[in-house]
Each structure stands twice: as structure tokens, then as C-alpha cells.
């Protein structure tokens, strides 16, 4: 498999080619460096696009701070305080300079440090997304494997029916249904909110958030497994007299996992970048809600901060996913 984003690092490779400095070798190290360097222009692109979008989209943050009624003199003063009276190119340069210093500024809306606000909410989102992904991967992969192995069985039909429903069901509907039944109907779990951080508050939002990726993973695992199970080498393995467990677990599953890892990676990125609906229904103090509220208030520093952090998460997860290909499939090379 040829991976994209190949750039040469002549000096490094010249000196260390073929030497296994750590797991994955020099090539992998070089690959990671290359990918990390790639994030710089990507992030710059994101920053620039976000800046341009905020500049052209109608809706003046100073105006929104004043409410429905405001006098022009105060409005101008607020715009000057926020630096919105400067020419666009100056605002852009100032913004880039601040970012390079790691300063995302303060929220227009409540004067909170953007980085503090993001880190505060990121923890809650990470907790939610991580558990949702663990649940989705476990349920999805397991259901996919069993469905493929027992193709056209009752389990297969039921699992795939549930998977299709899971993909189609709107998140807010699933969330409300779970709340109405388990929190308000049977009183099995607490209602909404982060509570004291107890795991009991996590159960319903994790299930709500995990349903869709679980369904996607189950469907993909099934189709990949079915494809692999019909390959010659699987037939050979069976002919050698290996047990079905070994055939499925060691020979088929590993080869079927590459597309699944890709989808898991994409889903992690999406969940981490803010599960807005789930966070809204469950009053979960995450980054998705922060971003939406910032958008409504035209809170430029907060919008930029959340978008850049989401982009960064997306890039990092993608790098991790790409690296994991090599761990799953030894044919994958990083040069």
C-alpha cells in the first residue's frame, strides 16, 4: 500500500536508512516528522479560511454585544476595544502573531481566555467521545464479525437491521428516547448534566453518541470480513486444518481491519470535534456547545480557537490512524 503525503528527508534517511531505531523503524519516524510538518500549512490554511469567513459573514460582534439597541458612539468604542476598527490585513497579521505566541485572545462574549475555555470543555468532550468510541468499536466490530461469519442468519439480519436503524436515527431522537425511558421512566440513571463527574452521568450520552459510529463500524466490518473470508489464503488456512477461531481471528480479521481503522479514526475526529447535539440534549459542558454559542454571538476569538483546536485534533488523529496501518498490515511502508 502506498501512502500519500510522501516527502523525502534525504539527510536523515541517508544516515539511518534500514536501521530500526524504534518500533516501525527510521522510515516511520521520518514519516511522522513529515506528517507533523504537514500540519503547519494545513493549520495556516484553516486559520486563514476561518478569518476570511468571519470577515465576510454578516453580523457584527460589537453590535451583538450591545443588544438590540445601541448608540453609534459606544458601538465604535467597543469595536475599537476589540480591534475590529483596524483594516482587515492588520487584524489578520495581529491574529497570526498572537497565535504564534500561543495566545488565542479573550472571548468577546464573556472575556474568558479562549485557551482556558477550550481546555475546560475539551476534557468533558474527550471523556464522552473516548467512551463512545470504545463502546462503538467493541459493539461494532463484534457485531460485524459475527454477522459476517454467520451470514444470512437471524443474528446477521437483526444486527444489520439495528445497524441501519442506528445510522438513520437522528441523534436528538435517540438521546431523548433514552432519557425518557431510562432516566425519567425507570429512574435507572440520573437525568442530564455533568453531575459530580460520576460515570452514571456518562451512560446515556455515551450510548447516544456511540450508536451511529457503532452502526457504521458494524456494517463496514461485516462487508470487509465477507470480502476477506472469500479470499484464497483464508481457504488455504481452512484447508490446513486451522480452527475457525484462528482463521477468523488471526487471518481474516487483521486483513479486514484497515478500512475499519480508517472509519474509527474519522469517527473519533468527528466526536472529539464536538458532539453538538448530544452535548445540547444532555447539557454536557463540551466543546461543541462552546463552538455553537460562539458562532451565534459572532465571538471571533472563540470561533477561531475552537475551529483551530478541532482541526488540530483531526490532523493528529489522522496521523495516528495512518501510523496504525503499519502495525496492522506489515506490507504498509512509510517511505
Amino acid at each position: 500500500m502506498v501512502l500519500p503525503h510522501t516527502i523525502s528527508l534525504p539527510f536523515f534517511l541517508e544516515n539511518f536508512r534500514g536501521k530500526r531505531l524504534f518500533f516501525g523503524g527510521v522510515a516511520m519516524f521520518a514519516y511522522i516528522i513529515r506528517r507533523l510538518l504537514y500540519t503547519i500549512p494545513v493549520l495556516w490554511g484553516v486559520v486563514t479560511v476561518v478569518f476570511i469567513l468571519m470577515a465576510v459573514v454578516p453580523g457584527d460582534p460589537a453590535r451583538l454585544m450591545m443588544g438590540q439597541r445601541g448608540d453609534p458612539q459606544t458601538l465604535e468604542k467597543i469595536r475599537a476595544d476589540l480591534g475590529l476598527d483596524l483594516p482587515l490585513h492588520q487584524q489578520y497579521l495581529r491574529f497570526l502573531k498572537d497565535i504564534l505566541r500561543g495566545d488565542f485572545g479573550k472571548s468577546y462574549r464573556n472575556n474568558e481566555e479562549v485557551t482556558t475555555a477550550i481546555f475546560d470543555r475539551l476534557g468533558a468532550t474527550f471523556r464522552l467521545a473516548a467512551w463512545a468510541m470504545v463502546l462503538a468499536t467493541m459493539v461494532g466490530v463484534l457485531a460485524g464479525i459475527v454477522s459476517a461469519v454467520k451470514q444470512y442468519s437471524v443474528f446477521d439480519y437483526s444486527a444489520m437491521f439495528i445497524a441501519i436503524s442506528g445510522v438513520s436515527a437522528p441523534v436528538f431522537w435517540v438521546g431523548l428516547l433514552l432519557l425518557l425511558v431510562f432516566a425519567y421512566g425507570f429512574n435507572l440513571v440520573p437525568g442530564v448534566g455533568y453531575g459530580d463527574g460520576s460515570w452514571r452521568y456518562l451512560i446515556l450520552p455515551v450510548i447516544t453518541l456511540g450508536v451511529r459510529p457503532a452502526a457504521l463500524i458494524a456494517r463496514l466490518t461485516r462487508s470487509c470480513m465477507l470480502e476477506v473470508l472469500n479470499q484464497d489464503y483464508v481457504r488455504t488456512a481452512r484447508a490446513k486444518g486451522l480452527s475457525e477461531k484462528v482463521v477468523v481471528g488471526r487471518h481474516a480479521l487483521k486483513n479486514a481491519m484497515i478500512p475499519v481503522v480508517t472509519i474509527v479514526g474519522t469517527q473519533i475526529s468527528l466526536l472529539l470535534s464536538g458532539a453538538v447535539l448530544t452535548e445540547t440534549i444532555f447539557a454536557w459542558p463540551g466543546i461543541g456547545r462552546l463552538a455553537v454559542e460562539a458562532l451565534v454571538a459572532r465571538d471571533f476569538p472563540m470561533i477561531r480557537g475552537t475551529v483551530i483546536s478541532m482541526a488540530l485534533i483531526f490532523l493528529i488523529v489522522n496521523i495516528v490512524v495512518d501510523i496504525s496501518y503499519g502495525l496492522i498490515d506489515p506490507r504498509v511502508r512509510y517511505d
Partner: protein, 545 residues
């Protein structure tokens, strides 16, 4: 036992039972100390610095922690003393306030001692707080731009605000540049609250996150996007009628639940005690289930569709604007779309407002008259216009109902649903033909409606989005602003409103209501006319522990 004795015994039993019953009832209604009240809000408060807040969620929080000089009467019919015990006005120009002694700032905030150390509030603190509004560029400082020296102080030409004088520790005086009748009403607005200099200066812009006031509750914790937690201020200045200390509650939690369905379920489960601004979708169910626990009353606010008076087809076409007023069936829309919760409007001023005119003719639903007026206006077969509405299910539903009603007369409304910021931008630049807008009271005076929304001095962002201009109206409103005789003011405002209604720069649609659903264990909670977010909690108690 003789019949007489038996009768006496039965009577005695009945009497003692009755006494016990009444005693029990009285006992049940007696205030109880302790407990925490949990109040639902839809989002995190953006601003907890009174100088900077402009939204209702922030206001809800501010009323717990801070005090103004005066406050609105619960029915919006006048002003009551708060940190000013009394005041007097000289010819509408000089206002002298006599401050309440023995009021102290909070000793602590967020679990830390405050820098003011819980000292007493004096007139110098008020002067500082008013000047601070200008220094931190408060979006509401201009509400009192008639106080002498405002512009010089804003421009940095003077060190202090000339028109605000500290006479002594307990006397504060304002001098205005012109007589302004609603001046004291304006001071009841929640930007004009007292803050301690030591803490405000120390924290600067971060005072927002370290609020210190004089109010009944002290901030204990702020978990962003989750809740703000308050505990009682043991040195709060108010006492109840029996001389007992207030507040009764140990604390208040303002809990953020963005979704209405979930919030209602949380209420039913008993996880929240108060659900303000009760949503339409559960209104009928809740009314049936909770009866009088769902309080609702007229709110001083007006819901209208503005015509752009600078743009065709409404520019210089009074008859067309009147025709649309006759073409809308407000009663039907209110019943079918708004669950009958609003009041169909006849004019600008809401019921309960000073100078409200009960005899104002307004516009009733009359399609025939509308057709005739349209023909006279030069549009016998109708026309097409764009209506901008800000993104909200209620506004969208009303717009669609009006669209259907106007369609009957051949008027095609193209509804454009916009984000609030974009909506405001377009309306203030007069770029659309029609727009939805609403206005709820800042200070309980007709000036806050008629002058702000319809005087030509306030075109665009200052409030007059219709860009309506009538010199006669301007003159009447100008006269009413400086007139100090209440009877004359009523006359001037009513005359101005009659002309405005006849000119029809808006479709006068509805007047708002405000609502609050509270649990039956929450006692003595009364919804004020100024809106649910200003519901006083200092004298509320809970029987649930």
C-alpha cells in the same frame, strides 16, 4: 349526657379542630429557612459584570448578587426604594438620592475573601460605579447620557463625571443637562448596580468572573455551561415584615439545560424548582398538570413587523401599510399558533405601561377594508415583499400564518429566516421591505418604547428600525421627555401613539406575556411585570429539604 352537653361537646370539637386546621395552615405558610432553589436557564450567563450585561440570563444572575438605587414595583406601576431610601427631584434637572445606611458589600466571593472586606456602601461607591460604566465602555452607559458632563467624560476631557456629586456618605446627587422625566426609572435598570472599587479595580475585565455586590446571594461557584452556584449573604440588608433576616434560602443554583423537552422532564422529576419563560410546546399540558403553579402575566413588551419606510412599496404609502394591518387576524394567530398566550396588539405601548391607552382604536381584522386600501394605495392585485425573521420556531410559525393570511389578498411574502446578528444588520441598514422585531421594557416608561423605537433621532441601531419619521411625533415625544407633570405626559404620549398607529410604520401584532412554572414546595414566589428573569428570590422559601 344531655343533648345540650352533647351539642356543646361537638361544637367544642369542631372549634378546636378548626383552630388546629387554621393554625396548621398558618404554620404551613410561615417562612422556613434553609434549602436551595434550582432555577433553569437555557445557557451560561455571558456577563456577570452589571456594567457589561445586556441579556436576560445574565440579568437573572445579577439580580441575585447586586442592588440598584431603586427598583420597579412588581406590577410595573412605579418605583420602590432599594439602596436609596428616598429621593427628590428639582425641576426634573437635579435628582438627590438619600442612601440606605448599613448596607455592606459581600465579604467573600467564590470562597475567597473580597478585597473590600465587607465594608459599608457609601455615595462614593455609587459615583465610582457610574463612572466605571463609561470607563469599561458599558453598552448601557448611554442610557444616562443626559447626566451633565457625560460627553466630556467619555472623551477623556475630564477626570470625573461632573454631573454626579457625592454630597456626603449617604447623599448622592445627579445633575442633568435637560429635564428628563424618566430618569429615576432608568436607574432601576440592571446596569446601574453598585460595585466595590477595590475588587473591580483589582480584577479589571476579569471582574466578570469575580463578581462582588451587595445582593442577597454570594457567588460560590461558576461551572461554565453547567451552573452558577450561590449561597446566602448572611449580612443582607433586607428584613421581612416580622424583622427576620433575609434571604430564607441557603442558596440558589442557576442550572443550564439547553433543551426545553429535557428541562420539562427534569422539572417533572423534581430536579429543578423553577422553569422560567415556559415554552409553547408544553404550555397546555403544563397548565393542565400544574394549574396555578404555572404563573403567567402580561409582560411589558411588544411584538411587531416593521415596514421599511425608506423602501418601496411601503415608502410614503400609508394606505398600503394600513391595509396590511387590517389584513392580519391577530386573534386567530394568537389562538392557533401561540396557544392564546399573547395579547393581540392595538398599538405600541403594552398594557400596564404608564400612558397605555385602552381606548386606542388600532386595527381589527377586516379583509374588505384591506382590499379597498390596497386599491387606493395602487396595489389592487397585491404585490411581493420580503419579510426577514430571526431564527426561532415561534417567529417562523407566526410568519407562516401571516404569510397565509396575506396570500388571500394577493400579497406574496417571501420569508427569509436569519441568524439574529445578520437579521439586526440588515434591518438597521434598511435593506429589507419588512422585518420582525420585538421590544421588551428596559425601564418602565413610554419613553423606552415610543422615543426609542419611533423617534427619527433613533433611526437604525438606536431602535427605530422602520426608519419612521413624522415631525409631529418627534415634537410630541421630545416634549414628553422633558415634561414633569404626569398628566401632561400621558396626554402627549397618547397623542403621539394615535398618530403613529394611524401612520402604521409597523403591523402592530402582539404584546408579550412572561411566565414561570414553580414547584409547589417553592413558596412566596411572584412573577413580576418586568419579566421572569427579575423574579425576586430574597423572600422566597422552600418547604423541601
Amino acid at each position: 349526657m344531655t343533648v345540650k352537653k352533647r351539642f356543646a361537646l361537638v361544637l367544642a370539637l369542631l372549634l378546636s379542630g378548626g383552630i388546629l386546621l387554621f393554625a396548621g395552615m398558618a404554620f404551613a405558610e410561615d417562612p422556613v429557612y434553609g434549602g436551595v432553589l434550582r432555577w433553569r436557564e437555557i445557557n451560561d450567563p455571558p456577563k456577570l459584570d452589571p456594567a457589561m450585561a445586556t441579556d436576560t440570563v445574565s440579568s437573572r444572575n445579577l439580580y441575585l448578587m447586586y442592588d440598584m438605587l431603586v427598583e420597579n414595583d412588581p406590577d410595573g406601576q412605579g418605583l420602590l426604594p432599594r439602596l436609596a431610601e428616598s429621593w427628590e427631584a428639582e425641576e426634573g434637572i437635579v435628582f438627590t438620592f438619600h442612601l440606605r445606611p448599613g448596607v455592606h458589600f459581600h465579604k467573600e466571593s467564590l470562597g475567597e475573601p473580597t478585597l473590600n472586606g465587607g465594608r459599608e456602601v457609601t455615595a462614593a461607591d455609587w459615583k465610582y460605579s457610574f463612572e466605571r460604566l463609561v470607563k469599561v465602555t458599558s453598552p448601557r452607559a448611554y442610557f444616562i447620557d443626559m447626566v451633565k458632563g457625560y460627553q466630556d467624560f467619555v472623551d477623556g476631557k475630564t477626570e470625573e463625571w461632573e454631573g454626579i456629586k457625592v454630597i456626603d456618605d449617604y447623599t448622592l446627587q445627579f445633575e442633568l443637562t435637560y429635564p428628563f422625566a424618566p430618569f429615576v426609572s432608568v436607574l432601576a435598570y440592571n446596569s446601574f448596580m453598585v460595585v466595590p472599587k477595590e475588587d473591580a479595580e483589582h480584577w479589571g475585565k476579569d471582574f466578570n468572573f469575580h463578581p462582588v455586590g451587595t445582593g442577597p446571594f454570594i457567588m460560590q461557584e461558576w461551572q461554565h455551561d453547567q451552573k452558577t452556584v450561590y449561597k446566602k449573604n448572611p449580612e443582607y440588608w433586607r428584613k421581612d415584615a416580622a424583622g427576620n433576616a433575609l434571604p430564607y434560602l441557603d442558596g440558589v443554583e442557576i442550572i443550564v439545560i439547553p433543551d426545553n423537552t429535557v428541562a420539562y422532564e427534569e422539572f417533572k422529576k423534581g430536579n429543578i424548582d423553577c422553569f422560567p419563560d415556559f415554552p409553547d410546546e408544553y404550555y397546555l399540558t403544563a397548565k393542565k398538570e400544574f394549574g396555578e403553579l404555572l404563573q403567567e402575566r402580561p409582560w411589558m413588551g411588544t411584538y411587531y413587523y416593521g415596514f421599511n419606510c425608506l423602501k418601496e412599496p411601503f415608502k410614503d404609502n400609508k394606505k398600503l401599510r394600513q391595509a396590511l394591518n387590517y389584513a392580519v387576524d391577530r386573534v386567530r394567530i394568537n389562538d392557533l399558533v401561540l396557544e392564546g398566550r399573547y395579547f393581540p396588539g392595538k398599538g405600541v405601548l403594552p398594557p400596564g405601561m404608564f400612558a397605555y391607552n385602552e381606548n386606542l382604536k388600532g386595527y381589527s381584522f377586516d379583509p374588505e377594508k384591506a382590499k379597498a386600501l390596497m386599491a387606493e394605495a395602487g396595489f389592487p392585485d397585491g404585490f411581493t415583499a420580503q419579510l426577514n425573521v430571526n431564527n426561532n420556531p415561534r417567529h417562523k410559525a407566526v410568519a407562516e400564518a401571516i404569510q397565509a393570511q396575506l396570500m388571500e389578498l394577493g400579497i406574496k411574502l417571501n420569508i427569509n429566516v436569519l441568524d439574529w446578528g445578520v437579521h439586526l444588520d440588515i434591518a438597521e441598514r434598511a435593506e429589507t421591505e419588512m422585518f420582525r422585531m420585538g421590544w421588551v421594557v428596559d425601564y418602565a416608561d413610554p419613553d423606552n418604547f415610543l422615543y426609542v423605537l419611533l423617534d427619527s433621532e433613533n433611526w437604525g441601531p438606536k431602535g427605530n428600525y422602520a426608519h419612521y419619521k413624522n415631525p409631529e411625533v418627534d415634537a410630541l415625544l421630545g416634549e414628553a421627555r422633558v415634561e414633569t407633570d404626569p398628566a401632561k405626559r400621558v396626554e402627549l404620549y397618547q397623542r403621539a401613539e394615535e398618530i403613529i398607529v394611524d401612520d402604521a410604520p409597523w403591523i402592530f401584532l402582539f404584546h408579550y406575556t412572561t411566565s414561570l412554572l414553580a414547584q409547589d414546595w417553592i413558596k412566596n414566589i411572584h412573577l413580576p411585570a418586568m419579566g421572569d428573569y427579575s423574579t425576586p428570590l430574597y423572600n422566597v422559601w422552600t418547604t423541601k429539604k
